[in-house]
């Protein structure tokens, strides 16, 4: 995973629980307490998952709450670092359609040549029709609920209203997760046209 993900999590823990909470989580996750995550480097998925689980346990919050807080912080950081990605998209639909490619290209770009072989993109997003996007998520990390939190946060950022369905989920034994994201207001506009 790109280091920005862990970096945002640790900054969030530090911000809300101070260095003490951050160190507890690092320790619980069995990560070097002096680590500085770089945004231009890939880190192991397993390490990231351990950090997220430790954060849920050490904060005593529900997983959903942690994801919501994390999503808000992540988008704030991403917007600060890469404002242009947000400007290019006219709305949250445009952003989420691009997000899959940004994530895939960014993640793959940071891998060494030998690591790039046989690695599939975790996300693919396609427009089914105006106002409806299908996202396929095929990571063994199973962070589909984190994606859901991020999707709602993106929608809020653009003042859009979305409906989110997950007809297939790896937690239910499916080979991948499938998200159907709809923009009901936009679809009504299309219908009226």
């Amino acid at each position: 995973m790109i280091g920005i993900i862990q970096q945002v999590l640790l900054e969030l823990l530090d911000q809300h629980g101070g260095n003490e909470l951050k160190q507890r989580v690092l320790k619980a996750a069995n990560v070097d307490p002096s680590i500085n995550y770089r945004i231009d480097k890939n880190y192991s998925d397993d390490e990231c998952l351990r950090l997220i689980n430790a954060a849920v346990i050490e904060t005593g919050l529900s997983e959903t709450t942690v994801y919501q807080h994390y999503a808000t912080a992540f988008l704030k950081k991403a917007q600060a670092l890469f404002p242009r990605f947000f400007e290019i998209a006219d709305d949250s639909e445009g952003f989420l359609l691009r997000q899959a490619r940004i994530h895939a290209v960014m993640a793959s770009g940071l891998k060494r040549q030998d690591e790039r072989q046989h690695v599939n993109d975790k996300f693919t997003a396609t427009s089914i029709e105006p106002g409806k996007v299908r996202v396929i998520y095929r990571s063994a990390n199973g962070l589909c609920r984190l994606y859901q939190a991020l999707a709602f946060e993106v929608a809020a950022l653009y003042d859009d209203e979305i409906e989110f369905e997950e007809p297939c989920c790896m937690h239910q034994g499916a080979v991948h997760c499938e998200f159907l994201i709809s923009w009901p207001n936009k679809r009504q506009e299309v219908a009226c046209d």
């Binding site: 945004i39 231009d40 770009g109 940071l110």
Partner: protein
């Protein structure tokens, strides 16, 4: 920004720039790493890697697309090759800007030329085309290039390596450049010789091909000869053997017509029974052969029996020939006309005919006679002569025979021996027959209310085979009689064996129908055919006319007199009247009278005369 930060960023930029130099060989498969704790520096490295990954992905996509396109092109090329192979067409591509012509292997093989992988000039193509067709080809190309036609579609002949030529259909289309100018023309060449110059049934070259070859030879001032051959007994061969069709005979005919010494002859089929053989006089000279030799060899070839289809086939042929150097030939059609004329003569005479200058004037006369005969028939200006027929012993008038005559102000009197064959060849026999019938009925009407009003006479009219094949002949004759208010008993129709041979059943039906209405029927020229007696059995007739060949000098010839006596007795037994033709001597008349009661026709008693004279010169007391 502090100096340290500036230094750090400069270092990041330098690190990234150095690594990006690796892309010089289009190698984008690199990973840019920077050694800096600065987030902005890391961001820059991140985005450079992001950019590189995007480039790699785009290149991969393009490569994948390129491979798909290549596969598609291969697939389409393969299909196109298959279609072209299936069509058996040659392909040509003319790059107009560079004036280069690319031709496929098949294009060359169609012209029996070795394949040349190099490009050619358009002039090379033009040189392969028959000179007479080049103008048409040039015009078609010009129209296409000017945009006056959307497609090239032109037929032409191309010379083959073996002194022949084949017909090609060339189709193409123009590719235009940005200025709407024709930059490339490409298309196919299809061999259409099978349709154009080969007879579908026999596989032999057809009359069109022959005409074109003759035309070429005349244009190139090559002396040639044409031999036209009619196989007279094809029908008989087919009837007598078990060949399912005459198509099976054609290969045999072609073989026999093509093999004369070492000559290179071209045999063409002109009709179901007529064929042409063409060759060059230079070859005749080289092989010390004359045209007579060629004709004789062809006759011999055809007459040779050959065991084929479990049968021995012997072709009876009529052979007419023409040699261009023996005549003043300016156009190919002249030579072809002369060949037909020679064949016609050969068929009439039953022997080979080599056309000469003398035949030209004869043909000229023949054409004039045909033309004037046709004109006279249209104007209804043909009037027959009438020859009186008397009872031999009592000299009482029995009737007349209407004899076709053609008198013309400039041509004079044309004998039946001359104009009847012309009428037959020109298809005028039906009109001639009805013309004489109309005149005869008009004469009967005139005479039955004139001097012969109290005398029971008839007029006999000859009927041709073509008339008897007309299913409405009997109806027409009866309608004409009724229209003129003439009794059918006044008319006697004379038929000959040859008239009946064509379609006996149909002729017999027409004759029966006429006879039932009172028209009398005479069997003319009796005794000259092969099966006269069989006609007596199967055909209802009233009169036998003994042919003049039996009458001439019969009083001095025991065989003739015996035959006539036998015929007379046979006729008496069958209740038939007898007319003896060609009686010219008093001794002949006396002898005939000694046999029994019969009618006499001949110069001794009356010559054929125009209607008025015939009636004026009837001796008193004969009617």
């Amino acid at each position: 920004m502090t100096d340290n930060q500036n230094l750090s960023l400069r270092s990041v930029i330098t690190q990234i720039a150095d690594q990006l130099c690796d892309t010089i060989d289009n190698n984008f498969d690199i990973h840019v790493a920077v050694d800096t704790p600065d987030t902005e520096g890391q961001k820059l490295a991140l985005l450079v890697n992001f950019l590189l990954e995007n480039v790699r992905r785009s290149l991969d996509d393009m490569q994948s697309l390129n491979m798909q396109l290549e596969d598609k092109v291969k697939e389409r090329t393969s299909l196109l090759d298959l279609i072209l192979a299936g069509s058996n067409d040659g392909v040509w591509i003319w790059d107009i800007a560079n004036d280069e012509l690319t031709l496929s292997g098949r294009w060359y093989s169609m012209l029996e030329l070795p394949h040349d992988a190099n490009t050619q000039s358009p002039e090379f193509w033009l040189q392969q085309i028959h000179p007479a067709d080049r103008g048409r080809f040039r015009d078609a190309i010009k129209r296409l290039r000017k945009g006056e036609s959307e497609h090239l579609n032109v037929e032409y002949r191309v010379k083959t390596a073996h002194q022949g030529y084949r017909w090609m259909l060339c189709r193409g289309v123009c590719q235009k450049d940005n200025n709407q100018q024709c930059s490339i023309v490409a298309g196919t060449q299809t061999d259409i010789s099978a349709m154009r110059i080969f007879d579908q049934e026999s596989g032999m070259t057809n009359e069109r091909y022959l005409r074109e070859r003759v035309e070429d030879a005349i244009t190139e001032e090559q002396s040639l000869f044409l031999v036209y051959v009619t196989v007279e007994n094809i029908d008989a061969i087919l009837t007598s053997s078990e060949h399912p069709s005459n198509a099976m005979l054609y290969p045999i005919i072609q073989e026999r017509l093509s093999k004369v010494s070492n000559l290179h002859l071209v045999a063409s089929k002109l009709s179901a029974i007529t064929f042409a053989v063409m060759g060059f006089e230079s070859e005749l000279a080289a092989t010390n052969l004359t045209i007579e030799d060629v004709c004789q060899q062809l006759r011999d070839n055809c007459a040779n029996t050959q065991r084929t289809f479990d049968d021995e086939i012997r072709f009876e042929v009529a052979v007419g020939a023409v040699v261009s150097s023996m005549l003043r030939i300016e156009q190919s059609q002249q030579l072809i006309n002369y060949a037909w004329s020679a064949l016609r003569r050969a068929r009439q005479l039953g022997q080979t005919c080599i056309f000469t200058e003398a035949h030209i004037s004869q043909d000229s006369r023949r054409m004039r006679v045909e033309k004037e005969l046709r004109r006279s028939l249209m104007k209804n200006a043909l009037a027959p002569d009438y020859q009186a027929i008397y009872q031999g012993k009592t000299k009482t008038l029995e009737g007349f025979e209407a004899l076709a005559r053609f008198r013309h102000a400039e041509l004079g009197t044309v004998s039946p021996g001359e104009f009847i064959p012309i009428a037959e060849d020109a298809g005028l026999m039906r009109e001639l027959g009805y013309s004489i019938l109309d005149s005869t009925i008009a004469t009967i009407k005139q005479w039955q209310s004139g001097v012969l009003r109290d005398h029971p006479f008839y007029i006999a009219v000859n009927v041709s085979a073509i008339q008897l094949q007309d299913p409405y002949f009997a109806d027409n004759v009866l309608a004409k009689l009724e229209g003129a208010n003439v009794s059918p008993s006044r008319l006697k129709l004379e038929v000959t064996e040859s008239t009946l041979v064509e379609s006996f059943k149909h002729a017999a039906e027409q004759i029966d129908k006429l006879r039932q209405q009172g028209v009398r029927i005479a069997l003319d020229d009796f005794g000259t055919g092969y099966s006269s007696l069989s006609y007596l059995r199967s055909l209802a007739i009233d009169t036998l006319k003994i042919d003049r060949s039996f009458v001439a000098n019969l009083h001095e010839n025991k065989q003739k007199s015996a035959i006539i006596k036998t015929v007379y007795e046979l006729a008496t037994e069958l209740d038939l009247s007898v007319v003896a033709e060609g009686v010219e001597e008093a001794e002949e008349l006396d002898f005939l009278n000694s046999i029994g009661d019969m009618a006499i026709q001949g110069f001794l008693l009356a010559r054929p005369l125009p209607a008025d004279e015939a009636i004026d010169q009837l001796p008193r007391g004969t009617y």
